[in-house]
């Protein structure tokens, strides 16, 4: 089974960049959400193996999403990566405190993101 990955990010170009970086890494099913709100709507629809989210988004922000996911009985085990710019250091710290598994700063290095994803996917399915 290909891993299912949810990308939550309000910039469509950034979503496409993240998606192509992941596709270069492995065969995966990628679902994109343009806001935290859209992510809430999509989450129950399928089981995701990994969530990658931005913080600064209109409506539901990334921190609120992290908090929601990490406190939810169904999703709390899902690994989560925050992708933000270095400007949001304070916010990122909060995100990690809320239970995000790792973070990547934009502009990101493809290899950094790929290795973070690889590690988290492996940890989640020890086979």
């Amino acid at each position: 089974m290909n891993p299912c990955i949810l990308i939550v990010e309000d910039s469509s170009t950034m979503r496409a960049l993240i998606a192509s970086t992941l596709e270069d890494l492995c065969d995966c099913d990628i679902t994109e959400a343009a806001s935290g709100f859209e992510a809430l709507k999509i989450l129950p629809a399928r089981q995701f193996d990994l969530i990658i989210t931005d913080i600064n988004m209109p409506d539901i922000n990334g921190l609120e999403l992290v908090n929601f996911v990490k406190k939810h009985p169904t999703y709390s085990k899902t690994p989560l990566i925050i992708v933000t710019t270095e400007k949001s250091a304070e916010d990122r710290k909060k995100g990690m405190a809320l239970g995000a598994d790792t973070y990547i700063t934009k502009p990101f290095d493809a290899e950094d993101l790929q290795s973070a994803v690889k590690t988290l996917l492996k940890e989640a399915s020890p086979s």
């Binding site: 950034m14 806001s35 709100f37 600064n56 169904t74 400007k87």
Partner: protein, 678 residues
């Protein structure tokens, strides 16, 4: 070398970048409108911040260092602004507008040359200067401790949300915590309804989702809302939702800060101050115009195939034995025809965008140019919702920009001159758009000095464009400003980065199948009227024959067809004319206009005349025969025919025959110019 991923990303980046800058521009205009009032919707500044933030992230990823550096600095400044560390003052706003112009220039450069190699030092220095001039320290942290919001809520607030919470406390507003549960299946609509209602009476500081009691079927939200309204009012908004609970959040009053005096600093917070800006799920898709062009061509070709089918059915019907078959074909083609029309309308509709998009861009240009020229100008627009084909709108931006630039440089006088002439110091430029039948009319009207016809003539004689003894009507003289080489003051426009003269502006409009007219009154001002067809993609056309050539004439330019005996054509001052319902209609012979070989149409007993024209100007075009009416897709003509006046493009008919499409606007001009020359 760019790999294909990178190339694709760059194309996406350009589209998204343009969209972001457009959004920033619109928000800046709103910000400027609100600068006098004490309360500006914080979401406007936050929106600009988010735009700069996204742009920085994207350009950084793609290696556009100049865009990245500038948007990074801009983001810093906006961050200070949205966190209340920097006050919004006119110099800050000027700096924002200027930075936006620089960014627009950079994106344009990337689009044209693939790199953003332009100087940005000035823009960076301006941001630096603004940041240094006025930065207040924030003493916010301690304040937050005084309110009884649970740490669980505080820890999910972004820095910005924390600041908004504190800003509400500083303003002495009420803070409410609202808890509400929704069904998982319908929470999006419900939440949207709730937030729309709450935005009208206050500011939603955060919307925190939580699992709630039944995580399988429900979702709970905790909202923190700041408002001047008492609790009852908020209750009335949320009472539509059964599960809603509300609680007021208490906080210690802010020391050494005056409570806001309602009369001057705090206008009632109503929907006009707090435009609700709730973005729901994305419902739009960005489509490359090239893909739409392709779709349009496919539709055009389908329509041609349908026409062939129809013609064949006609033949089939004449064979009596096949009448049954013909009928069944006929019915099928009828359905096909209806559906094709639907498809065509659908594709056309997708291409239509409101003209307001360029109006906003022009707004910024007027602001900058009038500032540079030391003139006071009010820019008023109307008809922003008028829709036009995207391609037409894009091609229209430069000509409009040039006309407006001219209006600022040469039309509107300086405040001193205006006052001396008994006018208001502030000049007005009005930009109006409206639809009239198959055309969209765009008017640019200013109340400046008007164009001095005498001076135009003198200048044209000086430049050798007209002979000294040539007699011209006022209208013809005015039109001289559209001749290449007329203007002396033409320099590369700083705004667009491209040199566009009035002649190019006119040419662009003519290429779009449009016309431009000038109306001027000395001392009162000038009105430019641009008439454009709504779409260029598929148009109905009249197919005519002249000698052995076939031509198509766009039907929107045709008013009627006449077949008249040869004798009804008269010659007045060496020009052929007919009298049509009391008016004199000048004629041109297509054969002579294009110097087509073959029998001369003058010898025919009956003359076929197509009466064509846009707006008030009309001519009769003499052809040999009217053939048919057909839907055509106009395609650009090759190099050899480009630049021949009177040809707008080429098209293929159902039988794959290539024919030329006439440019009626240009023919009319040619006819009037000839008349003048003779």
């Amino acid at each position: 070398m760019m790999d294909s991923n990178q190339q694709k990303a760059t194309i996406e980046f350009l589209a998204e970048g343009e969209e972001i800058l457009e959004g920033i521009g619109n928000n800046l205009v709103h910000l400027e409108e609100g600068i006098g009032s004490a309360r500006i919707n914080p979401e406007i500044i936050n929106g600009i911040f988010r735009g700069a933030h996204s742009l920085k992230g994207l350009s950084g990823m793609l290696g556009f260092t100049k865009v990245s550096e500038l948007s990074h600095n801009l983001e810093n400044m906006l961050d200070s602004l949205r966190l209340g560390k920097l006050k919004l003052a006119p110099p800050v706003l000027d700096c924002l507008f200027e930075s936006l112009d620089t960014l627009n220039g950079l994106i344009l450069k990337i689009g044209e040359e693939g790199n953003d190699d332009l100087p940005i030092e000035d823009a960076l220095a301006r941001i630096e200067a603004v940041l240094h001039a006025d930065t207040e320290g924030a003493q916010e942290e301690s304040l937050l401790k005084t309110c009884n919001i649970s740490p669980a809520v505080i820890e999910v607030l972004t820095e910005y949300e924390e600041h908004r919470l504190l800003a509400n406390i500083e303003q002495g507003d009420h803070l409410y915590k609202i808890r509400i549960s929704f069904d998982l299946a319908t929470f999006d609509q419900d939440l949207q309804k709730l937030t729309a209602g709450l935005s009208e009476i206050g500011e939603i500081i955060t919307t925190l989702p939580s699992t709630g009691d039944s995580p399988e079927s429900g979702i709970q939200f905790t909202l923190i809302v700041g408002s001047q309204e008492e609790q009852e009012k908020v209750v009335s908004v949320i009472s539509a939702f059964e599960s809603a609970e509300i609680e007021e959040i208490n906080y210690a009053p802010v020391k050494d800060s005056e409570p806001p005096t309602p009369t001057e600093t705090a206008p009632a917070r109503g929907s006009e101050n707090f435009v609700s800006d709730i973005k729901g799920l994305t419902r739009t898709v960005r489509v490359d115009i090239g893909k739409l062009d392709h779709l349009m061509n496919v539709v055009g070709e389908l329509i041609q195939s349908k026409d062939i089918l129809k013609a064949n059915i006609k033949t089939l019907r004449q064979a009596e034995a096949q009448a049954g078959l013909a009928n069944s074909f006929h019915q099928a083609v009828e359905v096909l025809e209806r559906k094709l029309t639907e498809l065509q309308d659908g594709v056309l509709e997708v291409r239509m965008i409101p003209i307001g998009q360029i109006f906003n861009r022009l707004n910024r240009i007027v602001r900058k140019l009038s500032h540079d020229a030391g003139k006071q100008i009010r820019f008023a627009t109307s008809g922003e919702d008028t829709e036009l084909d995207k391609m037409v709108i894009e091609e229209l931006a430069d000509p409009l920009m040039h006309i407006i630039r001219n209006a600022i440089d040469h039309g509107i006088e300086t405040p001193e001159v205006r006052k001396a002439a008994g006018k208001q110091a502030e000049g007005t430029i009005e930009l109006r758009a409206y639809q009239e039948g198959n055309h969209v009319i765009i008017e640019v009207e200013e109340d400046g000095a008007g164009i001095d016809v005498k001076k135009i003539r003198e200048k044209a004689i000086e430049k050798g464009l007209v002979e000294e003894d040539e007699s011209m009507t006022e209208e013809e003289t005015l039109n001289l400003i559209f001749l290449p080489g007329f203007s002396t003051a033409e320099k590369v426009s700083e705004v667009s980065g491209r040199g566009v003269g009035m002649d190019v502006a006119k040419k662009n409009i003519t290429l779009l199948g449009g016309m431009i007219d000038i109306d001027t009154e000395p001392g009162e001002g000038t009105l430019f009227t641009i008439t454009l067809p709504i779409t260029l993609a598929i148009i109905p056309a009249l197919i005519v024959q002249c000698t052995d050539q076939i031509f198509a004439i766009p039907l929107n330019a045709v008013t009627e067809n006449l077949i008249l005996p040869r004798q009804s054509i008269q010659t007045i001052e060496q020009r052929e004319v007919i009298k049509l319902r009391g008016r004199t209609l000048p004629l041109i012979r297509l054969q002579e206009a294009f110097r087509l070989p073959g029998d001369n149409s003058r010898s025919m007993e009956k003359s076929h005349i197509v009466v064509a024209g846009l707006a008030e100007k009309k001519i009769g075009i003499i052809v040999d025969d009217f053939l048919d009416k057909q839907e055509i897709v106009i395609k650009a003509v090759g190099r050899t025919l480009k630049g021949i006046p009177g040809i707008a493009g080429a098209t293929e008919l159902g039988d794959k025959q290539a024919v030329l499409v006439l440019d009626v606007g240009a023919l009319i001009e040619e006819a009037t110019r000839k008349a003048v020359a003779e």
